[in-house]
């Protein structure tokens, strides 16, 4: 982040950490309340939580309070130190992921040249946490859940990476800030009223990316690793109290962060079409975009998470073999075709 006033190094670092906390926890809380509590209830013709606070809006604080009070239970035969570390690794991956998301022309944590690559790399770290959570619980269901989760996350990481390659080819850069600029400064056949959000040209990439995100988050219909009717709750079976809370926060915070990344890659990120205000490049953008940009990002994120949750609440679970076959035999060939097509069109135009 750059500041109008100069802050000393420690103060900048502190502000970055606080900003990261807000960027992770605020979306997570909103997603859980709006979608998990309310939207799911409405889809099932019930009201959802109504007692805590007006319209049940304080329910989440009550839930967190409950989780924090619970006894810290660990299986006697479990590998205790690893059992404790595992949820933290999963949460750490979420925090690392949010570090590259740009929220405005100057409102970013870091501006890596290879931002997209970084995001894909650190998102794969959470697999490690899930694997060792399943192993260290000393429980067959947990181990099965952990192994299934690892197999699934590895399988769906590939189409995700390949879907992003299309965007990278079209934008000609891996820097997330420049991908945003490229979309908002772009034009569709000479008309610049909308910019050129890549969801139009990379629609296949967008669809593959969102399906892969759904699987990476182990949301239904891809929730085989936590399939409650056969594995209790997979790698999380032995976790309770605040350790479960960490897994829970990580799940929904990661949903939020992946939605943020998808909005940067396909929906134009924090930007509005530059032609509206006569901007040509990133230096001409007015400072107020640093306030409006995060709000635009938040709106787009909520839209995408709505999509993820809508699918989650609507479709039945894939079987394990269907799930693997879908990744390897449908998504990967489709996204490879998309890369070919994008590369050819990039050379032609």
């Amino acid at each position: 982040m750059m500041f109008a006033v100069h802050f000393p190094y420690w103060a900048q670092s502190l502000l970055r950490v606080l900003g990261g906390l807000v960027a992770v926890l605020l979306p997570a809380g909103t997603i859980v309340y709006l979608f998990l509590f309310k939207m799911m209830s409405f889809m099932q013709s019930r009201l959802g939580p109504m007692e805590a606070g007006p319209y049940g809006s304080m329910q989440l604080f009550a839930e967190v309070g409950k989780w924090l009070q619970k006894e810290d239970i660990m299986p006697e035969k479990a590998d205790h130190s690893i059992f404790k570390i595992a949820p933290l690794i999963v949460l750490a991956s979420t925090f690392l992921l949010v570090a590259v998301v740009p929220f405005g022309p100057d409102a970013f944590f870091t501006n890596f040249e290879t931002g997209v690559f970084y995001a894909l790399a650190v998102s794969s770290v959470s697999v490690l946490g899930i694997l060792i959570a399943g192993w260290s619980s000393a429980n067959k269901y947990s181990l099965l859940g952990g192994l299934r989760a690892a197999g699934q996350l590895i399988a769906y990481e590939l189409p995700m990476v390949l879907a992003v390659v299309g965007v990278v080819i079209q934008a000609g850069t891996m820097n997330m800030q420049q991908i945003v600029v490229a979309q908002n400064a772009g034009e569709i056949f000479g008309w610049s009223g909308l910019g050129n959000p890549y969801i139009l040209t990379q629609f296949i990439g967008f669809a593959v990316f969102m399906i892969a995100v759904q699987a990476e988050l182990t949301q239904a219909p891809f929730d085989m690793p936590v399939a409650e009717s056969e594995l209790v709750s997979g790698y999380m079976t032995e976790y309770s109290g605040f350790r479960f809370l960490i897994f829970f926060i990580a799940e929904f915070a990661t949903a939020g962060v992946f939605a943020l990344i998808a909005s940067v890659l396909f929906l134009g990120g924090w930007g509005i079409p530059f032609s509206w205000f006569g901007w040509n490049n990133i230096d001409q953008i007015d400072n107020w975009m640093n306030i409006v940009g995060p709000l635009i990002m938040f709106t787009k994120m909520m839209g995408l998470v709505f999509l993820i949750m809508w699918i989650r609440f609507s479709y039945p679970r894939f079987r394990e073999d269907q799930l693997q076959r879908f990744a390897w035999k449908v998504l990967i060939p489709v996204s490879l075709g998309n890369i070919m097509l994008t590369a050819v069109l990039k050379v032609v135009f």
Binding site: I82, A121, L128, L131, I132, W135, G146
Partner: protein, 158 residues
Amino acid sequence: MLAETLVAQNISFGIIATVMVVGAIRVVTSKNVVHAALWLVCVLAGAAAQYLLVYAEFVAITQILVYVGAVMVLFLFGVMLTRARIGNENDLNNKNWALGIPVALTMFAAMAIASTAVRIDTQAVSDAIFKPYLLPFWALSFVLLVAVIGAIVLARKD
């Protein structure tokens, strides 16, 4: 570059290096396969952090993607599918372990000499690989692909 950033860099280097050394020792002394693997993750992630400190972000990210995200996950996956038990095991040491010491020392000497003699950045390395040595690079990738397909053919019973 700000002087205060340099101080932070040096302090971080010291901390990460200490963690890496302790981690590397624990990899070989730990009595549980999964613990050893996790200490190895510690060392590899530490290397990535060191790359970041010298502004080699691409190398750092590749290190995370390849070693932490793929190699170690596959390793743990394999170990957990087959033999990983919770608790200590005593037969983890190979009887030829002492041979590793001279090999490690030779490697260290060679790398120390090489890295102090030549200084070259990531971009120059990639230029060298993808310009004059592009054809050998392709050939190598092709050999790897053949090896992977061969492994699948050998492993499949049907």
